[in-house]
Symmetry: C2
Subunit: 319 residues, 2 copies
């Protein structure tokens, strides 16, 4: 009987594939490098070969797999299974990936945006397991979003919804790569947090980061958090700005969705409870008296690096 699921996490530099049973227990996983120059056909062929290797290493075969889910780092029309565009995989434009995967693997397939996949992983297996209304924000180079409302991912008509990183927090504020100004992504992503610190140091602000910039030629987000922990005033202010921005976004989302849980994910959550508590602090400050029930839980994701393959496997069940 076909008792297993394959979850594929397609990234700009790696393809991760996990094999799970129907209860989402991980059987085995693997990762192979990819390249931004690879064609969709070559990538689907890599899905097929790598999946076969993974399965046979575990005494299984594709016969035992009931469906395949794929997370894609771009805009996906889930109705048609077409990848509209992927910033980091330029050859993926208007690619009918669902049909291609389904045909090559000989299985029902489902294609989904990677931020939505990670959000779904938290919903079925992580910090959102107990709720039906949750939102996830992934803090990385940009800020990705996923929204689950009444147990369903929100896609919009063509997969363009949940672009939460492009909510504007300051009119005519910092320019964002998207063409807007003042997006939360331009302040509070890992990259933008580092960029704001770099700009301040380059502008002559007093900070222990000055030496880091001189030595390494750059300041990372981790540097900012490390130096804040060591008492550096400037970096504390920079992080406060990040937390204010994220607290404000939580207020906006609370008013729009009244979610039970807002989950933060991505490398920045390594900053730990002090970071989380500062976001909660500004949420409470900005929400004023409105949120009297105070039931909204703001927390960190729990599914880590496997979120992509877990979420994709779970979504495969709906293929």
């Amino acid at each position: 009987m076909a008792d297993y699921l394959l979850g594929i996490d397609l990234g700009g530099t790696n393809i991760k594939i996990g094999c799970f049973d129907r209860e989402l227990n991980l059987i085995s996983k693997t990762s192979v490098p990819t390249g931004s120059e690879m064609s969709p056909e070559a990538i689907v062929e890599k899905f097929y070969a790598t999946s076969n290797d993974l399965l046979s290493d575990n005494g299984l075969s594709l016969d035992k797999v009931c469906a395949v889910g794929v997370g894609v780092p771009g805009i996906v029309d889930v109705n048609t299974g077409v990848v509209m565009a992927c910033p980091n995989l330029p050859l993926f434009r208007q690619v009918p990936l669902k049909d291609m995967v389904s045909k090559r693997m000989g299985k029902p397939a489902i294609i989904e945006n990677d931020a939505n996949v990670a959000c779904w992983a938290e919903y079925v297996n992580g910090a959102g397991k107990e709720v039906d209304h949750m939102i996830m924000l992934t803090l990385g180079t940009g800020i990705g979003g996923g929204i689950i409302c009444d147990g369903r991912l929100i896609h919009g008509p063509t997969g363009g919804a949940a672009e939460l990183g492009h909510m504007i927090i300051e009119l005519d504020g910092r320019p964002c790569g998207c063409g807007q100004k003042g997006c939360v992504e331009a302040y509070a992503s890992a990259s933008s947090t580092a960029a704001r610190a770099t700009e301040a140091v380059e502008g002559g602000a007093k900070s222990t980061l000055t030496a880091i910039l001189k030595e390494n030629g750059e300041i990372t987000c981790k540097d900012v958090f490390d130096h804040a922990n060591n008492g550096d005033k400037l970096t504390k202010d920079i992080i406060e700005g990040t937390c204010k921005a994220l607290g404000l976004i939580c207020v906006q989302l609370a008013n729009i969705f009244d979610p039970q849980t807002i989950i933060f994910a991505g490398g920045m959550i390594a900053a730990g409870d002090a970071f989380l508590n500062q976001i909660r602090h500004y949420f409470k400050q900005y929400i004023g008296g409105l949120y009297q029930k105070g039931s909204l839980k703001i927390c960190f994701a729990t599914q880590g690096e496997d979120a992509g393959i877990i979420g994709a496997s779970s979504l495969a069940l709906t293929a």
Copy 2:
């Protein structure tokens, strides 16, 4: 056969009741006064008596009605049919209105927040008839919101979603009745537009409204639009502020939902196309390059004062 629907629009000063056929053609409608001091029991009794009068005036009776929908000006838990609270009907706290109506009328009933009901009316019969992803903002004393995503109203777990008037557009901005600061409602509702004009005039700004304030003791939102049309500089600036705020909210909602249509409703839409075009202008300015497809339609509601009974009747079909 039970071929008719009753739609009830409960307001702070009136109860409107409409009888419709299953294709939402209006058979007849009526309106009776209510009062904020009325008990839920008395109001349900009024629903019953008024509905019977309306039906018998049209040669019908409750036997011919298959279901009843009620729009309520407050927070409604649609899962339980309980009205949690109504600002303008203080005796409505934790009232199991759905059960009360269903029992008294002897029909299946559905209870829904009035902004959601009006939004649903546009969805089934008005400016959102051709789409499945739409948002409505009602500009009145406050700003009410309704969101339809993939053909479903968004409620949140207990009816607290779609509080779009309380999206913050300016951190630490104008105080709002909700306890937050900087809500769009505090800038761009009809009342707040009038209030900003009043404050400017009282602060000594030069405007033809100065005479109005002296004469009438107050400035209304209609005054602001009238004087802007007559070339008054201050009031033009005030309206520009309102349109900027609403354009910004459209950008936020476009990024979150990627809706096909955003609809404005309420008395302020009497200001007409110049007002609408100015909102569109700021939407386009703030959305930058992101919304390349440019497919979002921003328009006015078409269902007017009957939206409440139309939407409630249509929702009754799902009771």
